[in-house]
C-alpha cells in the first residue's frame, strides 16, 4: 500500500518523475489504520464495521485517491513513457483468431515525442515488409507498397490487422486527454492496484472515450487496461504485466515501456493479440524521416 517508495527507486540522476509524486501519504490511510486497530476484536469488529460503513463514505476506508493525486498518477505514466529524444523499438505482433492460422509480424516503431510523430514500419513477414503507418498531427496514414497508396486511417485502426491500436505504440497523454475518477483499490494477482476510470475530455479525439486502468500502487505502472465505447460497451482488455526501463541520456531519466502487451478482443472473444517490444534504441533518427517520402523509399 505504500504509494511513495516507487517514486524514488530510480538510481540514476534525479528526475522530473519524482516531482510529480512527491506527495505525502494521505491522512485517510492513517485514520483507517487507527480505527481498524481499535475495532479489532470479537463481535465488536462486525458491529463497529457496520456502524462505520453507515456513518462514513466507503472510500475513506478504501484508500481513495483525490483527483489531484489521480492526475499525478496519470502524469507519472505519461512522463515515464515519454522519450526526451527519438525512440526506435523492434516489436513483435502475434494475432490469434478463431478458425484462422496465427499471424506473426515484426515491425519497427519510430517515435519523436517532441513533435508528436510516430511511424510503424513492418519488416516481416516478407509479404508485409514495407507496409507502414505514419502519424503526423491529427493524421494517421497507412501505406501499402504493393499498391503504392496512402490511406487516411482513424485512431481505432487495428495495427497490422491485430487488436492493437496506435496508442499501444505511441507516447502517452493520459493526463491531458482524460478526466480520472477513482473506482477502487483492488488486487490484481500479487499486486495491489488502484482502479481508475478515465473519461475523455471534450473536443479530444481518442480511440476509446472511456478507459479503465489498474495501476500498480508500488510502481505506478498500469498493469491492466480496459477500453470502452461511448455506449459503455467493453471493446478490449489488455494486460501489461512487465515494464522495462532503459536510461535515456537526453531525458536524463529512465524511459519506460511495456515489455509485453496481451490484448483480448471483447467483441470477438476468440481474437487476441500479443505484442512484445523486443528491443529499444534511443539513437537519434534522421531529421526528415517522419514523412511519406521516407516511408515510400523503404520499399522502393
Amino acid at each position: 500500500m505504500n504509494r511513495n517508495h516507487f517514486y524514488h527507486q530510480d538510481t540514476k540522476a534525479p528526475s522530473k518523475t519524482k516531482e510529480y509524486f512527491n506527495f505525502s501519504k494521505p491522512k485517510s490511510n492513517s485514520l483507517k489504520a487507527s480505527l481498524v486497530s481499535w475495532c479489532l476484536g470479537g463481535e465488536r469488529l462486525l458491529k463497529v464495521s457496520l456502524l462505520l460503513a453507515l456513518m462514513f463514505p466507503a472510500a475513506v476506508f478504501a484508500g481513495t485517491l483525490t483527483k489531484a493525486e489521480m492526475v499525478d498518477v496519470l502524469k507519472g505514466i505519461d512522463l515515464r513513457i515519454r522519450s526526451g529524444g527519438d525512440y526506435k523499438a523492434l516489436v513483435y505482433l502475434e494475432q490469434h483468431q478463431k478458425d484462422k492460422p496465427d499471424v506473426a509480424q515484426e515491425a519497427i516503431v519510430y517515435r519523436r515525442d517532441a513533435d508528436q510523430k510516430l511511424m510503424i514500419l513492418f519488416t516481416k513477414p516478407k509479404t508485409e515488409a514495407g507496409k507502414g503507418y505514419l502519424r503526423v498531427d491529427r493524421n494517421l496514414w497507412y501505406y501499402d507498397p504493393t499498391v503504392g497508396k496512402w490511406e487516411r486511417r482513424t485512431d481505432r485502426e487495428r495495427i497490422g490487422g491485430t487488436d492493437s491500436n496506435r496508442e499501444d505504440f505511441d507516447q502517452s497523454n493520459l493526463a491531458v486527454q482524460y478526466e480520472p475518477a477513482f473506482a477502487g483499490e483492488e488486487k490484481l494477482g500479487a499486486f495491489d492496484v488502484w482502479h481508475l476510470k478515465l473519461t475523455v475530455k471534450s473536443g479530444i479525439d481518442v480511440a476509446y472515450p472511456i478507459v479503465e486502468f489498474w495501476v500498480d500502487e508500488a510502481t505506478g505502472n498500469y498493469l491492466k487496461r480496459q477500453d470502452f465505447a461511448l455506449s459503455g460497451r467493453l471493446m478490449r482488455t489488455s494486460y501489461d504485466p512487465k515494464w522495462n526501463k532503459v536510461y535515456s541520456d537526453i531525458k536524463k531519466d529512465n524511459l519506460w515501456f511495456p515489455k509485453e502487451i496481451h490484448i483480448y478482443d471483447e467483441i470477438d472473444k476468440a481474437n487476441s493479440t500479443l505484442v512484445v517490444i523486443q528491443s529499444v534504441d534511443l539513437s537519434a533518427l534522421p531529421e526528415n524521416m517522419f514523412t511519406k517520402a521516407w516511408l515510400e523509399t523503404k520499399s522502393r
Binding site: 506473426a104 514500419l121 497508396k149 487516411r152 534504441d281
Partner: protein, 689 residues
C-alpha cells in the same frame, strides 16, 4: 351400365337444382383457378429464376471441397461461406470434363473487398504527389495545383461560414492559421521549391478538414475470365473491353458501376428520370423522388470541389443562363438548378448531361484505369492489389437486377493474391518468427493468474536496431510488371480455386450428370462435392421451394375448407332426400345404387365447376403470358429473369387441379353417401306420417 348413365343424367340435371350446389361449385371453381394460376406462376418463376442463376454465375452445377464447413452460397451478399480451397484446380478439371455431358468447368471463388477513397482533396493531392514523383508534364502539375488552390479557397469560405454559426472554440484556431497559409500567394509561389514539403503540409494540415472520404464495398467472383465469358453467354460487355486472355484485370458490374462509382448527384438524376419516364411517376406525388431532389439540392459540395477555377466559371455561366439568374455563388446556383419539379425536370436533366457533365468526372474510375482493392486474406492479413478495370458488364435480361448485378468479375491471379492462400512457406515463416520472438501466448481465462505473479519491473539496456537488416527479407515490388504480365492457361489453372461452375451440354440431364460427376470425384479421391444450381444459390435458390410450399399450403387450406363445407352440404342434401331415398329403396334400389348416386352427383358437380375453374385459370394464365407480370422491385426482377414474367400454362398444374378436385369431392361425399345407404323404406313411410 344403364344405371351409370341414369345416375350421370340425374347428376347433371341436379347441378343447379339447389343453392347449396352452386356454393359448393363456386368453392371448387375458386380452388382450381387458384391452383392453375398459382402453379403456372410458380413453375414459370422456377424456370426464369433458374435462367437467372444458371446464366449469371452458378452454371448448372457447382463443385467444392467436401471438407468445407459451409456450402457455396453465391447470392448471399456479404455472407461469404467458409469453403476449403481446392489447392490445384488443374487436377480436378480433367476428371470433371471426362463426363460427356459437361461442356465447361469454370474455376470460381467469391470474395468481398473494400475500395477506399480518401476525401476529395486527398484524391487530388495524391494525383499531384504522383505527378511530382514521376516528373509528369508541367501543364498537368500546374492544373492540379490550380485545382487544389480552388479547393482550399472553397474550404476557407466554408470555414468562414461555419465560424459565424458554430459556438466559440468549436474550431481549432490552428486550422484557421493553416488555411490562411495554404491560401496565401506566398505558399503557392514557393510550392515548386519544395513540392513534397508543401504537399505534406496540405495533406496533414488541410485535407483532414474535408470529411467526405468514402469507401465502396465490392463483391466479386474470381475466375478464369476468358473461360467465364465463353461459358456464360448472357454476359455482355457494356463499357470498355473484355480482359485480354491471360491478363490480370477486372470487369465491374454495370449495376455497381452506376450505383457506386458514379457522381452521386448524377446517379440521383438518373433515378428520378427512370421513375418519371419509365414508371410514369410524378415528382409532386412521390416522396422518394422529392427526397432525391432534396439531397441533390443540399449536397452540391461534391460538384463544387471537382471544378477547377476555369470549369467553375463555365459551369456558373451555364447555370446562370438556365436559371436566368445573376447569382455568383456556385453552391447556391447548383442548389437552385437541382430544385426541380415535374415541369422542368427533363429539361434540367438534359442541361446537366449536355452542358455541365463535360466539366465533371461523372465516374470515379474509367475503363482502363487502375483500381486499388483490398480484402482480408484467409490468414487474417489485409491484402491489397492494383487491378486494371477493363470495362463493365451486365447479364442480358438482368440489366437492372441488383442481385445479378451485385458481383463483379476478377481474374484468378488477383483473386488468389487477395485470398492469401496459406502456403507451407508462409506457415514456416510464421513459426520462425514465433520462435525467434520466444513469446508465450497466454489464454484469456488464465491471463490474470499467469501474468501477475512476480515483479513487473526490469532494467534493460538499449540495443541498436538496424533497419536494413530487419527489412532484409522484404520483396522488391514490380507493380507495373504484374499488370502487363500474360499468364498461360497452365499458370491460371495450376493454383487455388474455391470451387467451379459446371455447364452442361444438355441441362435436362442434370441429375444423371451430377450423379456421374460425384462418382468420378469419389473414385479419383478428389474430395469434391457436387451440388445443383439451386443449392449453390443459397437461400435465394430455395425461394421457389418456399413459393411452392406456400401455394400448396394455401390450396390445401382452400380444399380442406371446401371438403368440410361440401361434406356438410351433402349431408344436409341427403337428409332432405330421406323420403326419396327411402322410396327408391322400397321399390328395389340396392344400397350400392344409393351410394353411387350420392358419390357421382358430388363428383360430377366438382368436375363441372373444376373444369370451369381450370378453363378460367388457363385463360387468365394465357392472358398473363401475353401481357406479362411486371417485376415491381429488384428482387422480382431477378426471379422473373427480366422486367416482366410471361407465365406459361403448366400441364402439371392442370392435371393436379383435376386430381385434387376428384379427391376432395370423393372424400367429402363418402360419409353422406354411406349415411344415405342406411335409409330404410320404413323411414320414408314414417316421414309420410
Amino acid at each position: 351400365m344403364s344405371s351409370l348413365i341414369l345416375l350421370l343424367q340425374t347428376s347433371f340435371r341436379n347441378i343447379f337444382s339447389s343453392f347449396l350446389n352452386v356454393v359448393i361449385g363456386l368453392i371448387i371453381l375458386f380452388g382450381t383457378l387458384f391452383f392453375v394460376v398459382g402453379g403456372s406462376m410458380v413453375d414459370s418463376m422456377d424456370k426464369s429464376m433458374s435462367r437467372s442463376i444458371i446464366g449469371s454465375i452458378a452454371g448448372n452445377a457447382q463443385v467444392y471441397q467436401a471438407s468445407s464447413t459451409d456450402s457455396p452460397a453465391l447470392f448471399e451478399g456479404w455472407q461469404i461461406p467458409d469453403l476449403d480451397p481446392i489447392p490445384d484446380f488443374s487436377k480436378v478439371k480433367g476428371p470433371l470434363m471426362s463426363d460427356p455431358n459437361v461442356a465447361a468447368v469454370v474455376p470460381e471463388g467469391i470474395n468481398t473487398a473494400i475500395v477506399v477513397y480518401g476525401n476529395t482533396i486527398d484524391q487530388i493531392l495524391e494525383k499531384l504527389r504522383k505527378a511530382e514523383t514521376n516528373h509528369e508534364p508541367k501543364e498537368k502539375i500546374e492544373s492540379l495545383k490550380s485545382h487544389i488552390r480552388q479547393m482550399v479557397s472553397v474550404i476557407q469560405t466554408d470555414m468562414g461560414k461555419l465560424d459565424k454559426i458554430a459556438s466559440k472554440g468549436a474550431m481549432d484556431p490552428e486550422a484557421y492559421k493553416d488555411i490562411s497559409k495554404a491560401s496565401s500567394p506566398a505558399f503557392w509561389d514557393s510550392f515548386n521549391k519544395d513540392p513534397f514539403g508543401h504537399l505534406e503540409f496540405l495533406e496533414n494540415k488541410i485535407a483532414y478538414l474535408v470529411p467526405d472520404s468514402d469507401q465502396i464495398f465490392l463483391s466479386y467472383v474470381g475466375t478464369d475470365l476468358d473461360s467465364f465469358t465463353k461459358s456464360f453467354d448472357r454476359l455482355q460487355i457494356v463499357d470498355g473491353q473484355a480482359v485480354p486472355k491471360g491478363h490480370r484485370g477486372m470487369l465491374l458490374s454495370k449495376y455497381v458501376y452506376e450505383n457506386q462509382f458514379k457522381l452521386k448527384a448524377a446517379n440521383r438524376l438518373d433515378q428520378i428520370r427512370e421513375a418519371v419516364v419509365e414508371k410514369n411517376k410524378k415528382i409532386a406525388k412521390d416522396p422518394d423522388l422529392q427526397d432525391l431532389i432534396k439531397q441533390n439540392r443540399n449536397q452540391t459540395r461534391e460538384i463544387v470541389l471537382q471544378l477547377d477555377p476555369l470549369s467553375t466559371q463555365k459551369v456558373m455561366a451555364v447555370l446562370q443562363t438556365t436559371l436566368g439568374s445573376k447569382e455568383t455563388d456556385l453552391p447556391k446556383l447548383l442548389s437552385a438548378f437541382f430544385d426541380t419539379n415535374d415541369d422542368n425536370f427533363l429539361g434540367r436533366y438534359k442541361v446537366f448531361y449536355d452542358q455541365i457533365a463535360p466539366y465533371l468526372e461523372l465516374y470515379r474510375l474509367k475503363p482502363g484505369e487502375m483500381l486499388t482493392i483490398k480484402a482480408y486474406t484467409k490468414s487474417g492479413f489485409v491484402q491489397a492489389v492494383n487491378v486494371k478495370i477493363y470495362g463493365t458488364f451486365q447479364f442480358k435480361g438482368l440489366e437492372k437486377s441488383s442481385t445479378a448485378g451485385s458481383m463483379s468479375l476478377m481474374d484468378l491471379m488477383s483473386f488468389r493474391d487477395l485470398y492469401g492462400y496459406v502456403t507451407p512457406e508462409k506457415i514456416a515463416e510464421t513459426k520462425s518468427l514465433e520462435k525467434a520472438a520466444g513469446a508465450q501466448f497466454v489464454s484469456r481465462d488464465k491471463a490474470e493468474a499467469d501474468l501477475f505473479g512476480g515483479s513487473d519491473v526490469e532494467q534493460t539496456t538499449q540495443t541498436k536496431i538496424n533497419d536494413k537488416t530487419e527489412m532484409g527479407g522484404g520483396t522488391k515490388l514490380k507493380r507495373a510488371d504484374l499488370v502487363n504480365r500474360v499468364y498461360s492457361a497452365d499458370e491460371m489453372e495450376q493454383g487455388v480455386a474455391m470451387g467451379a461452375a459446371i455447364l452442361l451440354k444438355d441441362p435436362s440431364k442434370l441429375k444423371e450428370t451430377m450423379k456421374n460427376l460425384q462418382a468420378i470425384c469419389d473414385k479419383d479421391n478428389l474430395g469434391l462435392k457436387v451440388i445443383d444450381w439451386q443449392k449453390a444459390a443459397g437461400n435465394l435458390g430455395q425461394f421457389v421451394f418456399v413459393a411452392k410450399f406456400i401455394l400448396y399450403l394455401a390450396t390445401a387450406i382452400i380444399f380442406v375448407v371446401a371438403l368440410v363445407i361440401i361434406n356438410n352440404a351433402v349431408v344436409m342434401a341427403t337428409l332432405q332426400r330421406v323420403r326419396e331415398i327411402g322410396t327408391m329403396r322400397a321399390i328395389g334400389a340396392q344400397r350400392t345404387f344409393v351410394l353411387s348416386m350420392v358419390l357421382i352427383e358430388t363428383v360430377v358437380l366438382g368436375l363441372v365447376f373444376g373444369t370451369v375453374g381450370v378453363c378460367l385459370g388457363s385463360g387468365f394464365v394465357l392472358w398473363l403470358g401475353h401481357s406479362g407480370v411486371p417485376a415491381g422491385n429488384d428482387f422480382l426482377y431477378f426471379f422473373f429473369s427480366g422486367p416482366r414474367l410471361y407465365p406459361g400454362l403448366s400441364v402439371g398444374s392442370l392435371i393436379g387441379a383435376f386430381v385434387v378436385v376428384l379427391l376432395v369431392t370423393c372424400l367429402s361425399a363418402l360419409y353422406p353417401a354411406v349415411m344415405a345407404t342406411r335409409v330404410q323404406p320404413i323411414q320414408a313411410m314414417a316421414s309420410e306420417d
